[in-house]
């Protein structure tokens, strides 16, 4: 099943959606993250379908509230619906989002097989966000949020977050 990065989002709503950041990684917008699955005009305003990254992600409630206030500031009432299927995948993070993440100091997710080799096989594949060296190793399977693992660069010694691949 292929899923479009921006499925069923009405074009004139994009500028408002673009103003809503992810509360945990503020350089990313909700569009970069791919959590908006639908945004359509209704008789009363706008209806948005939102999908969680991880089931327990505490950012979801905040994102819902932030979306409502972003639309409210334009005089539009937004209703939010949380949907679970299809399950969110890191493939939905946009190219621009990956680049912004890297600049922010978080290594974006690798492909599924490279991710497995780095997280399970102890292979040195995740590029350091500072010096770009792939001579890096995992320090902790769990990082500062559920979606990240903690890595350290063996060349420049800097620790950094890696956004785990989720498919």
């Amino acid at each position: 099943m292929t899923i479009k990065l921006h499925p069923n989002i009405e074009a004139d709503l994009l500028p408002i959606l673009e103003t809503v950041p992810d509360p945990e990684i503020p350089v990313l917008t909700v569009l970069d993250l791919g959590v908006i699955r639908e945004a359509v005009r209704t008789a009363d305003g706008v209806h948005i379908k939102l999908t969680p990254t991880y089931t327990g992600c505490p950012a979801m409630d905040v994102i819902g509230d932030d979306l409502k206030s972003a639309f409210a500031s334009q005089g539009i009432t937004a209703t939010i619906e949380l949907i679970l299927a299809p399950a969110w995948s890191t493939d939905w993070i946009s190219e621009a989002g990956r680049e912004k993440m890297r600049e922010y100091g978080i290594a974006p997710p690798l492909s599924e097989s490279a991710d497995k080799a780095a997280l399970l096989g102890d292979q040195r594949l995740v590029p350091c966000t500072i010096c770009k060296s792939t001579n890096t190793k995992m320090i902790s399977q769990f990082g500062s949020t559920a979606c990240k693992a903690l890595f350290q660069c063996m060349d420049c010694q800097e620790p950094f977050d890696y956004f785990k691949c989720l498919k």
Binding site: Y54, T55, G56, C57, L84, A87, S140, S144, A146, L150
Partner: protein, 251 residues
Amino acid sequence: MEHQSLYQYLLSLGDNALILGQRLGELCGHGPSLETDIACTNIALDLLGQTRSCFQYASKQLDGKTEDDVAFLRKENEYTNVLLVEQPNNDFAFVITRQYFFDVYQLMLMEWLSANSADETIKAIANKAVKEARYHRRFSSDWMLRLGDGTEESHQRLLDAVEALWPYTQEFFVPSEAEAWAASAGIGPDLTSFKAAYYNDVEALLEQATVPVPENPYFQKGGKQGRHTEHMGYLLADLQYMQRTYPNMTW
């Protein structure tokens, strides 16, 4: 009637995750190291997320209930979690052993539900949870090996934890009324069919961790029917404190 049965089945899914999540949450700021502290609380967060998905769906089965009612306003004998997940943290070997014994079961369950459940919402919940469960099992398996095959001290502690928690493992495979209903409706698995594969996996890992498989033939059960161990009351006192003290409070 069908709503009531589905409600009860969702409780059985959600309660295990809720109570284990609460236990792991107790370690927040108290883990043995920063990395393990973060790992335990991250796993707790995933489990609470799964709980919320189950309870949001459960509350729709009964008129006038919210997910908070389901989580916070039931009495002890209305919680249907297995006894294993309410066992106290004692030490890190207990935390890991309890987690590992749970993770092996939970992954089997979520794999089945995400592939086969006749209920589309449960299938969708499991589809997300299965990825989390896989990662949790990896974490707890790694630590079982490190503790078991580590120092004399860590080996002894793991041995004690495995001996103490082993009697709680069989309850998974004795279906409650709700679980039997779900199996007959194609919504949930026939849990008795998981038993052989579960013990195959667990016994293979214990061997690798240089810990003998306990010989105790006596197993404890009753949690699914609301008959809990003495630890449950204290856990609920913490869990329910806010809603009992400030009824109907919201964030």
